[in-house]
Subunit: 301 residues, 2 copies
């Protein structure tokens, strides 16, 4: 599981910093999360193949999380895309994109499938045999969801020594990896746990931006391997969080600690601060394993 | 009159090239022409003060000329703008911007005034005491206008030697500069042309992108000081111009020659070509004074 940060700064794009967008590579998927202005250029810079993106998740309809999407959709068309594209985002996203395509008479040659979200409860929005994706309802100035990406428990790993010693035919490996016991030619039943090891623990990643400090997301994100939580402010600007519906680095760390996550990644920094290191210092007073997102940074999770 | 090219490449933004946007500085105005994705970052890079932009002209509603506008409007709000902003563009532009602001619940604190265009004839869209701006109807896949910026003829220049010799009181200078004759104390009438020189010739600039070769714009842009004309293709791809409604470098040069313009600036290059110098070479076979637009280039006109 790899996370590439394309942009992680609040508000306006600047010469050297980009608004929110990131790519999560998980089980051969490339999921694009948020799409601020300039995302398509960031994708090119970081050599991410456009054709590998088939699912885009938009947290909310503020410009710094969403104004790169119309251009990216148009670019997919110019690149000759024909595979369908799934877009998950707040109700209204379909109307906005459709209007822009209509005004430019620039309909896509590929199918755009919108999954509009409006529930205030967490819901499963994607599932295949290897991954699930659920929404994490957040508290921001407009309707906003985070997203929880979870690998499913994989197949059991074959204990090669054990199956060799028992001369088990390869034809049975498939069932063994599924967890089944098998019967030898002499009629003996061999328990699966003697033939296999536990599969690797499935990984999970939670993206939570933008939001105030919202402790009731904790049950949803409990024990995740990595939590990206917005930290627009430091505690010195905590008084701004209520009006703007953002969080501080310390609040993000408190969520991380109470949810017992393995790693906290901070981002969505207000550009008022001279150094983003301050966010890490503040968060570390509450929670040890803190990392700072930055544009272009890749986290191997 | 200065023209700053913020972006001049066709289709998608890339790491090192930007879609169409330019700033024309004329008589203390900063007019923004087109606003592809990334325009606000280009404005920052080239240190153009956001607050000096009060009028934005959008040629057509294709993404590479327009998808930077929602973000720019939002950034003006974040910067605390309170002056009104005038936006000139095809019918539909108001609906698009309004919908995006509504979905983000991000209404501007300043007044956005839309001047929606739908006429197929050239029309005067802006006038003050120093400048006029008219549309140049173009021929593209969607409704498109170029824009013709013209300085008005200024005041006549005082012939200091002449007025001194005649001991004319400074109180009369205002009327003299307006072109009036004056009467000396002894009753003699002095013709204005003995007291003044002609004012400098007013400058003019025509922006024509995107369009096919369209000779009927020639009367509108006759004798302009500078013509920016799109040249998406070279003649070798002339067969693509009819379907895509774009022009070649040679066609742009033919328009320049037939309109007797002083300088032709080429732009809106397809990214299929290895070098933009090829556009200049081709255009120069028809018209001598050709320059190439490029991102970041400033033309003092």
């Amino acid at each position: 599981m790899n996370l590439t940060i394309l942009g992680c700064y609040a508000a306006t794009p600047r010469s050297l910093t980009n608004p929110t967008s990131q790519v999560l590579e998980i089980k051969n998927h490339m999921f694009l999360i948020d799409c601020g202005e300039g995302t398509q250029v960031q994708l090119r810079k970081h050599k991410i193949k456009f054709s590998r993106i088939n699912h885009i998740f938009i947290s909310h309809l503020h410009g710094d999380h969403f104004f790169g999407l119309p251009g990216l959709i148009s670019t997919f068309r110019l690149l000759g895309r024909d595979k369908e594209m799934h877009i998950y985002g707040p109700k209204g996203i379909k109307e906005a994109i459709t209007l822009l395509l209509k005004l430019g008479d620039s309909w896509t040659n590929y199918l755009l499938i919108f999954h509009e979200l409006s529930s205030k409860e967490s819901e499963l929005v994607y599932e295949d045999d290897k991954v699930t994706i659920e929404t994490i309802p957040l508290n921001h100035r407009v309707y906003t969801n985070g997203f929880l990406f979870k690998e499913k428990l994989g197949e059991r790993k074959l204990n090669i020594d054990a199956v060799s010693k028992l001369n088990i035919d390869k034809a049975y490996y498939h069932n063994i990896k599924k967890g089944k016991n098998i019967f030898l030619d002499d009629g003996r039943e061999i328990k699966n746990e003697l033939l296999t090891f536990d599969p690797p623990a499935p990984k999970s990643y939670a993206f939570c931006s933008d939001t105030t400090y919202k402790p009731n997301i904790i049950p949803l994100i409990k024990n995740v391997d990595a939590l990206y939580h917005e930290s627009t402010f430091l505690e010195s600007e905590e008084h701004l969080t209520e009006r703007t519906k953002h969080a501080t680095a310390k609040q993000a760390a408190t969520i991380a600690k109470d949810a017992n996550v393995k790693k906290l990644i901070l981002g969505h920094y207000s550009t008022r601060y001279k150094s983003i290191e301050l966010f890490k210092e503040e968060a570390r007073t509450v929670f040890a394993n803190v990392e700072l997102a930055d544009d272009g940074k890749v986290f191997a999770l």
